[in-house]
Symmetry: C2
Subunit: 390 residues, 2 copies
């Protein structure tokens, strides 16, 4: 099998017009080569190494894949077709997990991690286009809750600097576990997605804040999605982040103009926080966040990801009165990719079915053929943003 793959790689490498380089490759570097069908040829120069593998995130396919050493000390392998999207990867070099020196790195898995972009044919909605661009800004703020400085990324829409009397609605948009506040712009291209939607007139100009989704009252900074990523982060969002953004930017500071959304861990945080604060949020979106119906209760061993979703009791009864819920929340949105692992598809799909049966209005978005990675979440944002603040 390995030999077959390598044979295919050699054949394809002889077709230079067909192969492409990923946008994530450093300028001038010899990064992985993309075949039109989604196969990827990975390379690492390591003449003295004994074993080299490539491994990666959901979306790259199974793995790790053994690489084979050429006479020039260049190890290569061509992987089976990957789904379109943004895929983290790394090499196991004599047993040590290392990045591809040819790749830019991104915060994923709590580490700097190489990545490859497999383009989706015809999908221009997340590209840098010749339209007015919003600003992407660093925002430092002191959190009284956490007793430390925090860093968030803020998107202000095109025109923000010149239309100085205009106030805007606010979307809080959160990353996943092991990632950080830079994920939604660097990996997710959220700013380009919004630029393009706003230019097309399909999304309302809005301010987006992408915060660091970890918080603790007594621990140093972390990249782990532990319990405090829910409880302490809830306080940070309500008492530190929103007041900071409302003071520093021209927001419309009421619930009707405030949304929270997040992916994976960020989706869990969104449900945990926003469902219990209808006084703060009128728009709620969970992007591939697996459902733990009793996440707000005291943790016990029988809790966890499951589809025993009771709409009366889940999230401390947030959905117990469907008509009341539908009146309070202007949008309740859930999404998942059809190639995501079962824990995401089953718990989200199950909750959506149960909630709809109970009369809760849910917008459900399935991303066809994408995995638990950024292409799903880019599509999600592209579907979600036009529905906000209407």
């Amino acid at each position: 099998m390995k030999q077959l793959i390598l044979l295919a790689a050699s054949a394809l490498l002889a077709l230079p017009a067909a192969a492409a380089v990923s946008e994530t490759t450093l300028p001038g570097a010899a990064g992985p080569t993309l075949q039109p069908d989604g196969r990827i040829t990975f390379k690492l120069k390591a003449p003295e190494a004994r074993t080299v593998q490539v491994a990666g995130g959901d979306g790259l396919g199974a793995g790790p894949f053994d690489m084979t050493k050429g006479t020039d000390g260049l190890w290569t392998v061509t992987t089976p077709p990957a789904v379109p999207g943004f895929h983290y990867y790394w090499f196991n070099l004599d047993g040590v997990r290392v990045n591809d020196p040819a790749s830019r790195t991104y915060i994923g898995y709590g580490l700097e991690t190489s990545a490859i972009e497999v383009p989706e044919p015809g999908a221009g909605y997340y590209e840098l286009r010749d339209v007015p661009h919003g600003a992407v800004r660093d925002q430092w703020y002191f959190s009284r809750t956490a007793g430390q400085w925090r860093h968030a990324i803020v998107y202000t829409p095109p025109g923000y600097d010149t239309d100085i009397k205009t106030h805007y609605p606010l979307l809080i948009l959160q990353h996943g576990s092991g990632e950080d506040e830079t994920g939604w712009t660097r990996q997710g291209r959220s700013n380009f997605i919004l630029d393009n939607l706003i230019a097309a007139g399909t999304a309302r100009p809005m301010i987006v804040v992408m915060d660091r989704g970890y918080a603790s009252k007594d621990q140093p900074d972390t990249l782990d999605g532990t319990r405090t990523a829910f409880t302490a982060f809830e306080e940070v969002v309500l008492h530190d982040l929103i007041p900071t953004v409302d003071a520093a930017y021209r927001t419309i500071a009421d619930r009707e103009h405030r949304a929270m959304a997040g992916l994976s861990m960020g989706g869990m945080q969104t449900l945990f926080i926003s469902l219990h604060h209808p006084e703060t949020f009128a728009y709620v979106a969970n992007l591939s966040g697996p459902i733990i119906p009793d996440l707000r209760g005291p943790r016990s061993t029988d809790q966890g990801f499951h589809d025993r979703f009771d709409s009366k009791t889940a999230f401390e009864g947030a959905f117990a009165d469907p008509a009341g819920f539908n009146r309070k929340f202007k949008l309740f949105w859930m999404g998942v990719g059809t190639r995501e692992p079962a824990v995401f598809r089953d718990t989200i799909g199950g909750a959506v079915r149960t909630l709809k049966s109970a009369g809760v209005k849910v917008v459900y978005f399935e991303s066809q053929g994408t995995a638990h990675e950024w292409q799903t979440w880019r599509r999600d944002l592209n579907d979600l943003a036009p529905r906000l603040f209407r």
Copy 2:
């Protein structure tokens, strides 16, 4: 010698109160340990590796340093005292240059590169402090010169969003070869330096644009400081970057309110561009940029870094009329670290002496005990910014 160093490491590792972790270490990761005297203990878990070394940039001391494997597969070495500052480093793992998985990475040497921060005792001028913070923004712009989109970082001072009738002077601030537009904020902490100076009232509020210092009319993007980093970049700065910034931000768009500064390659670019455009710039600063007096002439083999600096002919006669030069340029600033290699110290120091003898007004700043790295350039900016636009 190696054994002595390792012995010292063991002794110091037993003094937890004395050792510290670098700010560049990823949260929760086991990064290098800093001793109070500047020695650094590097670690890499690699049970199957045969050889591991650590190597780094100017400022880390000589190297590479051989590391020694412990019984647990953890390779360690403690290096001699490093000067304070921001030092790039990497491991040679069985001959392959890899990053420290425990470190954040920064664009240096044309690659993602690990780094360690050796704090300068008592130096708070580049720290995040509880003062009003300017905004750090991403700026995309289409360059007609290069025929492609470019990315720059823009700092707008505190109050920019609220003092909406105020216009500001502009500093163009450039990185070094192998680095990119993110260097001055991520490695250099230019935004915090300016926040602190502006809060203290010692620097005038200004807009700072930090552009990507590579440009070409017919080549893909690069991280190499080749010839086009001068000629094509000059056109980008004059015809694309400055018009973009003047249109998008509230600058004072005249020469009296425009400065250019850069470090190393960026200093060379600054001299190359600004000395020949007094109609555009009144303030010029070269931070550790080695002097090639005939850089603007056609390249020939006898040109290069040297101290045969003739103030009549250097830079196509830009200094030939000292009185005229002094009238045109409000500030001509040059700086170098005393621990930098001779090519920097000698060519810059030599040019300064020659220019002063000829009657050219030069502000010369020597950074004591620092190398060709970011601590020198942080100090430079701290000295330079208060002198601008006075």
